[in-house]
């Protein structure tokens, strides 16, 4: 891993696209506890681009695991906490297409489910200002070349929720293509689901594993050193199978690739 520490991080990129912008980082609950490298990399990347990155401590989760299991009532307080935590910020940025997708696609429905018009108003505002890191870089900061250096062979898995819920489109690929030193190999059947599906992997473990095995086979066929994606739980799922097969292909969040610099490597 080639993440720079805050004290030794690279210079802000030319033009300091993020200068004057304060970003509220939504680390996501899974990243906070299980994959801190991704929000760390996001922080360092945004700081390198001139942003001030704050981490509102009240944040917990987007609520997706509960909504997607059918627990609406239980999720409403989580949505309320999210909305209140991030209401005052102009930019809420997360290293997860899936969690951003959940905020964007489900929080309004849940505010309506609660019959809370006031919450709905707050949610409307927050939803409009919540971005996946790839969207924030390209749409708000207007940069594709973030000054990253990653001299490795990678393949990119466009996670389902990044693609079809958050609709990040080709932004991650454009960012990766601008990374110096990188070699990107096409992933066969890239748009097929890896079989994670949140509680699906526990409720339908056998189908989930069969799907993950297909994905792992396709990843292995690329000969890449790293499997890149914008969602760590999908990476956990796929790399779990890859590890079991001793494939040697390492999972890495796209933010970690983009945060890597020549100075640090």
């Amino acid at each position: 891993m080639t993440i720079t520490s805050p004290t030794t991080q690279g210079r802000p990129a030319a033009g300091a696209a993020g200068a004057g912008k304060t970003v509220a980082l939504f680390s996501t609950c899974a990243n906070d506890v299980m994959f801190p490298q991704a929000p760390m990399a996001t922080t360092q990347l945004l700081e390198r681009l001139g942003c001030r990155v704050v981490f509102p401590k009240k944040q917990t989760c987007c609520g997706q695991p509960l909504v997607n299991t059918g627990y609406y009532d239980e999720t409403v307080p989580i949505v309320r906490n999210f909305a209140e935590t991030f209401a005052e910020y102009d930019y809420v940025v997360a290293p997860s297409g899936s969690c951003v997708g959940a905020v964007r696609h489900q929080h309004q429905m849940l505010a309506d489910h609660a019959g809370d018009a006031g919450l709905r108003r707050v949610v409307d505002g927050v939803v409009a200002r919540t971005y996946d890191i790839s969207e924030f870089l390209i749409d708000v900061l207007g940069v594709e070349d973030v000054g990253a250096y990653f001299p490795h062979v990678v393949t990119y898995h466009p996670t389902c929720h990044s693609m079809r819920v958050a609709h990040v489109g080709d932004r991650p690929m454009r960012l990766l293509q601008a990374v110096r030193g990188i070699t990107i190999r096409d992933l066969p059947d890239a748009d097929r689901c890896c079989g994670f599906g949140g509680t699906f992997s526990l409720k339908n473990p056998d189908v989930s594993v069969a799907m993950a095995a297909d994905k792992a086979r396709n990843v292995a066929s690329t000969g890449a050193e790293y499997l890149v994606a914008g969602d760590n739980l999908c990476l956990l799922n796929i790399s779990g199978v890859l590890r079991r097969q001793h494939s040697g292909i390492l999972p890495i969040h796209i933010a970690e690739v983009l945060a890597s610099t020549e100075e640090a490597s």
């Binding site: 506890v33 801190p36 009240k58 299991t69 059918g70 627990y71 307080p77 389902c160 949140g198 339908n204």
Partner: protein, 528 residues
């Protein structure tokens, strides 16, 4: 549930009935009594032949659909139009049905209404008996056009019980029927079978029910189709009564539309003397011109062709051409229940194209039999629990038979928000569980259902910044304690064993993100 590894073994329990039956016996039992999805899915996953067949077929059909949908530069406009037309008819369904009834009647077709399967089957049996008059023996038969509505009401078995043989004439349906099997897909029902299996079924079974398969039949699909042509032609040429469904019913004119490939539909619709069409009430379209939208959307989404080989439109009997007696049976069978849920009713837009099934990664792994319904895949997982309710174990498990990957919505020609509806149905399942726990009262408290309790506890932590902060601190201890000892977790105890049986899990990090941030940053974002 049938199995595809070996060729059809007659189901135990049907052997005794076989001698009195007119048609091959399907597998025993009702679909609604099927095991929960994960249980049957595991069984199906253990069938490598089926998995190979499905992978090949679904990959092929997906590629075809993608290609022909991309050919039309106004494909997304067509989808929006399809969605809007269906919404219009569903939101004013009573008006359009009354109009359809008037038009059908004016065109010389007799209209019947059936609230449920039993009522529909009683009407159909009555009509067939009337049409067959005093015909006896082999002549007490009908030929069928492939129809999801008739499958849904299990019409063939109702006719069988009334001593009437219903012959499936679609090639795949014939394979399924002769194989004592159940369909596993709404468009290509025998897709779980490969050519060798089809050959075995034809050689073994055709002769029992009509013209035998030619001697020396090989596994070439063209020759297998040729055997079906010969076997069925004698049935077509003598058929007095045909039963069809309808892909569309035009309210304005009373026109019914059947979309097909093989010509078996045309044989039934043209050669019989009496035609009975079983039509779900959601099949209605306002005008003839609406067909220009759906007859572009359906074939491209369904078989991945620019147009299916044959489409028949008819508006009552035509003197000197085709059946002179026509009936339409309009069936509800749960549809009004679906309609009563403003969110759930979006599923009624479905035109049964199967694009969502073909693109579903879960379906591709397990096939249609795991779904315990005539409607498998994403649409089945939202429609079946709405039509039948969420009380049976299989119905309550269906909304969870998806990773919510969203591929289904992208291909749906009428833009049914399938992932949202799957979540919506999960919510209904949960509400059902909670209501049951409450109804159980003290018993419910003593034996709480595990999942609601776990979810409630999780939600309490996730909606409380303090509890969550504490949890993250506790969680990162795990990594610290293990630091340097192991690089990954192997098998973990249940329920995490469901994960670790096939996957390794890395050890948790030694420091949570929030701990790192607090160590390196001030609250205002400046660096320490």
């Amino acid at each position: 549930m049938s199995k595809a590894t070996q060729v059809p073994v007659r189901r135990a329990g049907h052997t005794d009935l076989e001698s009195t039956r007119r048609t091959p016996a399907p597998p025993a039992g009702d679909l609604i009594d099927s095991p929960r999805f994960p249980v049957q899915a595991k069984v199906e996953l253990g069938n490598p032949v089926q998995r190979k067949n499905l992978h090949h077929a679904m990959t092929t059909i997906r590629a075809k659909r993608t290609k022909v949908a991309a050919e039309l530069d106004n494909w997304e406009d067509l989808r929006l139009a399809g969605e809007a037309i269906k919404n219009r008819t569903l939101r004013h369904l009573d008006q359009y049905l009354v109009q359809l009834e008037e038009s059908l009647t004016a065109a010389g077709t007799t209209v019947h209404w059936a609230r449920d399967a039993q009522e529909a089957n009683a009407i159909i049996v009555g009509l067939v008996n009337e049409a067959l008059g005093d015909a006896e023996g082999d002549a007490r038969e009908v030929v069928k056009v492939k129809s999801m509505a008739t499958q849904e009401i299990d019409m063939n078995e109702a006719l069988e019980e009334a001593g009437i043989a219903a012959w499936e004439t679609d090639l795949a349906e014939l394979i399924v029927q002769l194989g004592h099997d159940r369909p596993s897909h709404i468009l290509v029902p025998a897709i779980h079978r490969n050519r060798s299996e089809v050959r075995e079924i034809f050689l073994e079974e055709m002769g029992r029910y009509g013209r035998p398969a030619p001697e020396g039949l090989d596994t070439e699909p063209a020759n297998l189709a040729g055997a079906a042509r010969l076997h069925l032609r004698e049935k077509f040429l003598r058929a007095k009564v045909a039963i069809s469904g309808a892909n569309f019913a035009v309210a304005e004119t009373g026109t019914l539309v059947v979309v097909e490939s093989e010509g078996n539909g045309r044989m039934c619709l043209t050669l019989a003397e009496t035609l009975i069409s079983v039509v779900g009430i959601e099949k209605v379209l306002p005008t003839v011109e609406d067909l220009e939208v759906f007859l572009q959307l359906l074939p491209r989404s369904s078989t991945g062709e620019r147009m299916n080989p044959y489409t028949s439109l008819w508006t009552g009997p035509t003197a000197g051409d085709g059946p002179q007696t026509m009936h339409v049976v309009l069936i509800d069978n749960g549809r009004t229940k679906v309609l009563s849920d403003p969110k759930g009713r979006e599923a009624l837009r479905c035109i049964r194209c199967s694009a969502c099934i073909n693109v579903c990664p879960v379906y591709e792994k397990v096939g249609g039999h795991a779904y315990g319904s005539v409607y498998p895949g994403p649409i089945g997982s939202v429609l079946t629990p709405q039509l039948r309710g969420v009380t049976s174990p299989v119905d309550a498990s269906l909304p969870y038979a998806s990773t919510l990957c969203g591929a289904c919505f992208d291909v749906c020609p009428v833009r049914i928000p399938l992932p949202d509806l799957l979540v919506h149905m999960r919510h209904k399942v949960v509400e059902g569980k909670k209501a049951k726990a409450e109804a159980d009262g003290l018993k419910g408290l003593l034996h709480p259902h595990a999942e609601p309790a776990i979810m409630k506890a999780t939600a309490q932590v996730l909606s409380s910044p303090k509890l969550w902060a504490a949890a993250t601190a506790a969680g990162s201890l795990g990594g610290k304690a293990l630091k340097g000892r192991v690089a990954k977790f192997g098998p973990l105890p249940w329920p995490l064993s469901k994960w670790t049986n096939a996957r390794d899990v890395p050890i948790p990090p030694t420091e949570s993100f929030r701990a790192w941030y607090a160590r390196t940053h001030h609250e205002d974002g400046s660096l320490k």
